[in-house]
């Protein structure tokens, strides 16, 4: 058995014991000591899980049964009404946009969408956006801003589509514009990386007040395969590349590039999508609550400062 999965199972059984103990511990010193011991064990195991290999996590992030944006929309939001098209060229099925309600509040939801079966995979272009997708996303974000509605984005893409049409229709310009405009949107933005955070295609909807990563998601400037074939001139070095690029949630948090990690159930989000969605909903509620106490100026300032300070350097 995979050691990380075993660790996960250990963790679950320990957590069950803890729950039981909490139920009748009361003022019983023995029970409290026992509880303390178990909590320490849980911490240790969590540490082991966080060093789970980057490649293992990449595989989980790409797991064919992993919940995609639409599943989260169904489980977390109500009153979903999709908004199509960029009002310039077309509608990109690789990015979904729409109005929804979150805990009764009107919000804008935007996310990459992958297909489950072959036909839908092709229809969704494997979650790889064309420029129209970014433009649709920006258009709907501005709509949210106009009516002072918070924005939730869900990121799950291998990256921007490296196609002829995408270049002809200016995907670089579309991504660039989103980065600049998201930086000054006057409403709360919370981004969740649910699966693959593939480079510019991910970042184009991820300049947010809070960027959350699911425990087994990855976020990277280039795919491990791409990095391996460029830097090692050998695509089979993908596991080494995945490790070297520091793409996992704990590493991204350590680098100060994301704000929070959302725990996943069981063997990963696919093993229990309901619990995964509950965990996401809990995190979204918590962060939105926080952000709603801030003025528009404060949001924009703090968002600027956060991205402004990313990346360190030596000064001689």
């Amino acid at each position: 058995m995979d050691p990380s999965i075993k660790a996960q199972q250990n963790l679950e059984s320990l957590e069950k014991q803890i729950e039981r103990l909490k139920g009748f511990a009361g003022g019983n010193q023995d029970a409290i000591d026992q509880l303390q011991g178990l909590l320490e064990k849980v911490e240790a195991i969590r540490g082991q899980i966080s060093v789970m290999s980057a490649w293992k996590r990449t595989e989980l992030a790409r797991h064919p049964q992993r919940p995609y944006t639409l599943e989260y929309i169904e489980k977390i939001f109500t009153h979903w009404s999709e908004i199509h098209g960029d009002r310039a060229y077309g509608d990109d099925p690789a990015i979904l946009c729409g109005m929804a309600r979150f805990l009764g509040e009107d919000v804008m939801v935007i996310g990459h969408q992958k297909g489950k079966d072959t036909k839908m995979k092709v229809y969704r272009n494997f979650g790889m956006p064309n420029p129209e997708g970014y433009r649709k996303a920006l258009r709907t974000m501005k709509l949210a801003e106009k009516f002072k509605r918070p924005i939730f984005t869900f990121v799950d893409t291998p990256g921007a589509y490296p196609g002829l049409g995408a270049e002809e229709r200016g995907q670089a310009e579309a991504i660039a514009r989103n980065l600049r405009e998201m930086a000054r949107l006057r409403v709360p933005i919370v981004t969740t990386i649910t699966g693959e955070g593939g480079s510019g295609g991910a970042l184009a909807i991820a300049v947010a007040d809070r960027v959350l990563m699911m425990e087994n998601s990855v976020y990277s400037v280039i795919s491990p395969e791409g990095c391996a074939s460029i830097m090692w001139r050998d695509a089979t070095k993908k596991e080494v590349a995945a490790q070297a690029l520091k793409i996992t949630a704990p590493e991204m948090k350590e680098l100060g590039l994301i704000d929070d990690i959302i725990p996943e159930p069981g063997d990963g989000a696919h093993s229990d999508p309901d619990t995964a969605a509950e965990n996401v909903a809990e995190a979204l509620a918590r962060h939105l609550h926080d952000l709603k106490s801030k003025s528009a100026e404060q949001l924009v300032d703090e968002r600027y400062t956060k991205f402004r300070n990313m990346g360190q350097f030596f000064t001689e």
Binding site: A160, Y161, P162, G163, L164, A166, E167, E168, R169, G170, Q171, A172, E173, I175, A176, R177, L179, R180, E181, A183, R184, S199, G200, L203, A204, V207, Y219, S220, V221, I222, C227, I230, M231, W232, R233, A241, A244, L245, K246, I247, M252, L255, L257, R303, Y304, F307, R308, M310, G311, Q312, F313, F314, T315, E316
Partner: protein, 281 residues
């Protein structure tokens, strides 16, 4: 013709070496003509026979764009921390050292404040010879500082791009520089200060998909490769050869993503004229 030269000694050493090894003649990759190096220099490093724009280093670029005389280099001492402790077939730290040795720079960018036809400007120029002009934390920080200086002093900002994109060896740190610089450009825009993006050969990847495409004017040199995805990656995806001229300046102009394609000789006067139009009233 390059009046703008740094004073550091290792740079002069590398200049001397270049003269010795490169000789007096250079071959144009486009028309295959052999050109006398002096003629090439006198012609802005543009082939006198076919107008092919040769790649030039940051110092030469500064000499071409700014008025001769005082130009203040700033934020030149920033160095990469190697945030991922990255090693592929070589250690990134060694690649950085080698790049510094061969270019005399700390990273792939130089900020300078000077004048353009008498008008004060902040100019940020990428150095392609430094790890392919790739953008890591230092490039991100230095360009952001140029923009912030522009905001503070109400000076137009000009960024000259020459880059393969994000610096892989800094992973997602380099990706976030796209957001960082673009956010700074939003502030520059709100301050009503001009921003001119000059795209030179090559400008690709995360650099194109951030500051290079966000100018009040986006101006390119003729024949420059400009795009997001690399041509080879696109060919692999669509499994066919790309059409002639795909992702070149003229192609982007035709598709509506550049405001102008301007010959290197005319670049300064074009920008200078734009700055007149954009002067704060």
């Amino acid at each position: 013709m390059a009046w703008f030269k740094r004073t550091s000694t290792d740079v002069e050493a590398s200049d001397e070496k270049r003269v010795k090894t490169e000789g007096l003649w250079e071959k144009c990759e486009n028309c295959r003509q052999i050109i006398w190096k002096k003629d090439l220099d006198a012609n802005f490093n543009v082939c006198p026979k076919c107008d092919q724009h040769f790649r030039i280093d940051a110092d030469t670029r500064i000499s071409i764009l700014l008025d001769e005389g005082e130009a203040e280099v700033f934020d030149e001492r920033l160095r990469s921390t190697d945030p991922l402790h990255f090693t592929d077939t070589k250690r990134y730290a060694d690649r950085l050292r080698a790049a510094t040795k061969s270019t005399g720079r700390q990273d792939a960018i130089v900020n300078v404040q000077g004048k353009m036809d008498g008008k004060p400007v902040v100019l940020s120029v990428m150095e392609y010879a430094f790890i392919g002009g790739s953008m890591g934390a230092v490039v991100g920080e230095v360009i952001t500082r140029a923009i912030e200086r522009g905001i503070k002093k109400k000076l137009p900002v000009i960024v000259v791009s020459a880059s393969g994109g994000a610096r892989m060896m800094e992973g997602a740190v380099s990706l976030m520089q796209m957001a960082k610089i673009s956010a700074a450009l939003a502030r520059l825009d709100e301050a009503g200060v001009p921003y001119i993006s000059v795209l030179t050969d090559p400008t690709t990847g995360g650099v194109t998909a951030s500051y290079a495409m966000l100018g009040d004017l986006n101006i390119a040199e003729p024949g420059a490769l400009i795009g997001f995805a690399g041509p080879r990656v696109i060919e692999q995806t669509i499994r066919q050869k790309l059409p002639e001229g795909f992702q070149r300046s003229e192609f982007l102009l035709q598709k509506g993503f550049l405001d102008a394609v301007v010959h290197r000789k005319e670049m300064k006067s074009y920008i200078s004229r734009a700055l007149d139009f954009m002067r704060v009233q």
